[in-house]
């Protein structure tokens, strides 16, 4: 299928339309005359064009880049070679950042819903009208219900901190982020083991187990790049995954582990390491708390036992344990990133963290590194007001054992809003977040929206979430924005500070969320809390870093070099026992298993497949599928299914199938793939969109969020998205 829009032409016609006439001329008009008579375009571009630093905004990695600007148009984004965290690279999404800016589908003006939610009838209104309306609606909800009656969900963006701040001064504690569909269970587990969330020093490690992660596709800097360097330097890579991902295919060993049984594998590793005394006993005495309890607890979890659960041969489990321990402390069980998979996700990661602890790799080369202080100061903001009539707690309080107070859990909040207990929430402010594609059970999110009086989305594209909103406000891309400084952790590449300045002025009527919030604050008697400019804010952040401003201007990044290893020299761990906790006291006190106790995952109902979620290097989650450049790489999604399983259902490669779960259904083509377990299926995220404003991808593929049933991790509330079983049938057969 070919899109009607061809990239160079669409950019050109787009610019003409936007009024940037000089820019259109620069892209080069090819009049239909003999080619020899048109001006030689090559001569024009030989002159050195304008280059400006910025930082990519296509995903959270925030890779430093250099934007090439010619006649007011950004013509290329190149990697900033001084940016260590990215190892001087810019991936496919980064390069496609230009297309995001110049996308004809991009949101341009404030839009007010005219028909029903999801009908797609919009009225263009002015910013004044839009902000007046939003302020009025939010105030109305605050007065009719409580300040907590408006929920705020800011996504992963440098300006999201202003949304957090606005929520605080507005008076709502109901703030949730993308994190509760992502890594909260991992963070919980590592916080409750080591006292902080670590960063893997992959570059220097010699043995790494990657379980439930896919770094060669789900790019994380510098991990994904360092993993290849480490491999070249002799690091052994073992991958556990029900799918034969690119990481699995480029590793030394791949085991198609039975989904949800990772804990069995890692408990068995602990069994081997403790029973064969393959750990450093001095280290254990000094730094680890609970080695005796652990040794006793994992006695029952032998490799022979684990083999029955995870379907990996016991001999391999034992061998891997020994190899891993032999390479310690330059050995890692990779913590991964997205851990929104099972209802015992936190405990699964606890079992992995425990193995890391036994390897003694904390704070040492090739192991797990602590976060580095980068030196940014908190801004001097006035104290937020107190609202007497506000509820005591956030909506989802107590719905998971150890929820992160400032994160909450979207799944629980959604349930609470639908049930209107403990109190009603009637408004929703969304910034750069797309739960209709990223959160499990799309229909439930829609059901929740039906309960709401007012939904406003700030975004650059008409995402599914924007499509279902009442008011849509156009935001610019990061290349058009001035941002506060952000600190980035780079593990072996050190921590750094980045701050963006606009490469080109904001197009159309787009406004950064900072400006939007200022506008709202002004209309809600909250002006004093937003009474500062971005420059002033940044200045405060750089209070203790006199060199930062210049470094960012001259190098595009600021490095505050600090020790890589040995940060914990002579320090205690931020845990109850002040040591690394194999046995977690606090869990015991709360009635949660202090050392993970294995639970077998649900078995597949007859003729059903477990649906798993995964990423690839072409897209950012579920939000860039409509980008013309990236869409060309993958215009559609398909269901990965093993040929043997497909044969049983009489399904051939490329055939259309209907997929159904207890949450919803969809239709898409099938991709026969030997690289997946026979009991498991997979599809990429971001397709099957509702929004007709995503013209390239609309009508393509199926939406995985429609199918995933909503479960949550017991301890952190993190969404559990691998607990869904689906039925697959030839189209028309169900």
């Amino acid at each position: 299928m070919t899109s009607p829009i061809e990239t160079p032409l669409s950019r050109r016609s787009f610019l003409k339309w936007s009024g940037a006439a000089t820019a259109a001329a620069a892209v080069g008009g090819k009049a239909p005359v003999l080619y020899a008579l048109t001006p030689d375009e090559t001569k024009k571009s030989f002159a050195k064009p304008d280059s400006r630093y910025s930082v990519c905004g296509m995903c959270l990695n925030a890779c430093g880049l250099v934007a090439r600007v010619e006649n007011g148009v950004i013509t290329k984004l190149d990697p900033n070679q001084k940016f260590l965290k990215s190892r001087g690279m810019l991936c496919a999404r980064g390069n496609a950042g230009i297309q995001q800016l110049y996308d004809p589908d991009r949101l341009k003006y404030p839009l007010l819903r005219k028909g029903e939610r999801g009908e797609g009838k919009w009225e263009r209104i002015s910013w004044d009208q839009a902000l007046d309306l939003a302020a009025a609606k939010m105030t109305e909800i605050a007065e009719k219900y409580t300040r907590c009656g408006v929920m705020f969900t800011p996504g992963s963006d440098s300006q999201s901190l202003f949304v957090h701040w606005f929520a605080e001064v507005f008076g709502s504690y109901n703030v949730s982020t993308h994190e509760s569909s992502c890594l909260l269970s991992r963070n919980r587990a590592y916080l409750d083991t080591f006292g902080e969330v670590p960063f893997a020093d992959i570059l220097h490690t010699k043995y790494i187990i990657v379980a439930g992660a896919n770094p060669f596709e789900a790019l994380i800097t510098p991990d994904s790049i360092d993993l290849m360097t480490a491999k070249k330097n002799g690091c052994k890579i073992v991958v556990l995954d029900p799918r034969f991902t690119k990481t699995a295919g480029l590793a030394h060993e791949w085991h198609p582990i039975r989904p949800g049984t990772d804990m069995a594998f890692f408990l068995a590793l602990s069994h081997v390491i403790t029973s064969e005394k393959l750990y450093n006993e001095t280290y254990a005495q000094e730094k680890l708390s609970g080695i005796e309890q652990l040794t006793e607890h994992v006695c029952q979890y032998s490799p022979e036992w684990a083999e029955k659960e995870c379907e990996i041969p016991a001999a391999d489990i034992r061998r891997i344990a020994r190899e891993l321990a032999a390479a310690a402390p330059t050995a890692i069980v990779y913590p991964g990133r997205r851990t929104s998979d099972y209802v015992n996700s936190t405990q699964i990661r606890r079992s992995m963290a425990i193995v890391n602890a036994l390897l003694g790799n904390w704070d040492s080369p090739g192991g797990l590194l602590a976060a580095r202080q980068v030196g940014l100061s908190g801004p001097e903001l006035p104290e937020a007001p107190f609202y007497d009539d506000n509820p005591e707690h956030r909506l989802d309080k107590g719905m998971a054992h150890m929820m992160f107070e400032e994160e909450g859990a979207f799944k629980h909040m959604r349930d609470a809003i639908i049930s209107q207990k403990p109190y009603p929430v009637k408004g929703w402010f969304i910034y750069r977040y797309n739960p209709l594609q990223s959160a499990a059970n799309r229909q439930k999110t829609i059901e929740m929206m039906k309960q709401l009086d007012f939904v406003v989305t700030v975004d650059i594209a008409m995402s599914d979430t924007a499509w279902m909103s009442d008011l849509v406000l156009p935001a610019p891309s990061v290349l058009e924005r001035q941002d506060p400084a952000s600190g980035l952790q780079g593990s072996a590449a050190c921590a750094c500070v980045v701050a963006r300045d606009p490469v080109v002025p904001a197009l159309f009527e787009s406004r950064p969320v900072f400006e939007i919030l200022k506008g709202l604050a002004g209309r809600m008697k909250l002006t004093e809390y937003f009474d500062f400019t971005m420059e002033e804010y940044r200045k405060q952040q750089f209070k203790l870093l006199p060199d930062a401003d210049r470094a960012i201007r001259e190098d595009g990044v600021y490095y505050n070099p600090s020790k890589l290893y040995g940060i914990y020299e002579g320090k205690i761990y931020k845990t109850l026992s002040k040591k690394i906790e194999l046995y977690n006291e606090r869990y015991a006190q709360m009635g949660v298993d202090p050392i993970p106790v294995y639970q077998s995952p649900k078995t597949n109902p007859v003729n059903q497949f477990r649906l798993v979620v995964g990423r690839n290097a072409y897209f950012t989650h579920c939000t860039t599928q409509n980008n013309a450049l990236l869409n060309e790489l993958m215009p559609d999604n398909s269901l990965w299914i093993h040929p043997v399983a497909a044969k049983k259902l009489d399904i051939k490669d490329g055939e259309r199938v209907e997929v159904t779960s207890n949450a919803g259904k969809g239709e898409l083509s099938v991709s026969l793939n030997n690289g997946i377990r026979e009991d498991t299926v997979y599809m990429a995220s971001g397709f099957g969109v509702l929004s007709k404003g995503l013209t390239r991808v609309y009508g393509k593929g199926a939406c995985i969020a429609e199918l995933i049933e909503d479960y949550a991790d017991d301890i952190s509330g993190n969404m559990a998205m691998h607990e869904t079983f689906i039925r697959v049938a030839k189209k028309g057969a169900l």
């Binding site: 003999l34 080619y35 020899a36």
Partner: protein, 224 residues
Amino acid sequence: MHWFNAGCWIFLFLTGLGLIQNDDLQPFTSWPTILRIVFGGGANLLLAHEIVGITWAGGFLLYGIIRLKSDVIPFFREIFNVDIHRDFLWLITKGIQMTLGYRALGIIAEKFGFSPIIPDQGFYNIGQKIFAIPAVFGGIVIVVSGVTMILSQVGMASTELVQWAILIHFITVGLVFAGLLIHVFMASIAAGEQPAFISMFTGSVPEDYARHHHKLWLDEVKKS
């Protein structure tokens, strides 16, 4: 008009030949190189070829429209005015005479039993008529195929079409050129052709000449 035609044709032939820079197709490998130096690059050579080509085609198109009744139609009438028996005999006898001489003609004619007398011809002799057909229709084919190649540069022709156009262009030019060699010789260098050659500039021939070479036409003119 003839000289416009001749001038353009020669220029086009030489530049066209020079555009073929490919070892498999070009027997005269230094010619393209020379021309590219003269024109300052292959692109300019192509441009010159295309401009003159369009001018040539355009000129003929205009001529064809403006002089349709006065020149074009009579021309074609004459071209197709053929007496098979007489003209075929002319071809044989004249051909032998031009290559082997009158004596040989006599001998061969006797041997094979046909008259050695070269039959009379009209305004154009059959040789000219035979050349006129490929010259004109070949010219049209050359223009169409050439225009196809130009259209390709503005996106109105596919690669397949262009490839066939190149082939046809080359073959047609080659064949017409082959005929052209004879035409040029016959019209200028051959014995007794001086008056004809001069007539291309003056527009008229001496009566003697006309009687010998184009008697049928002379008779017609005399009649009216």
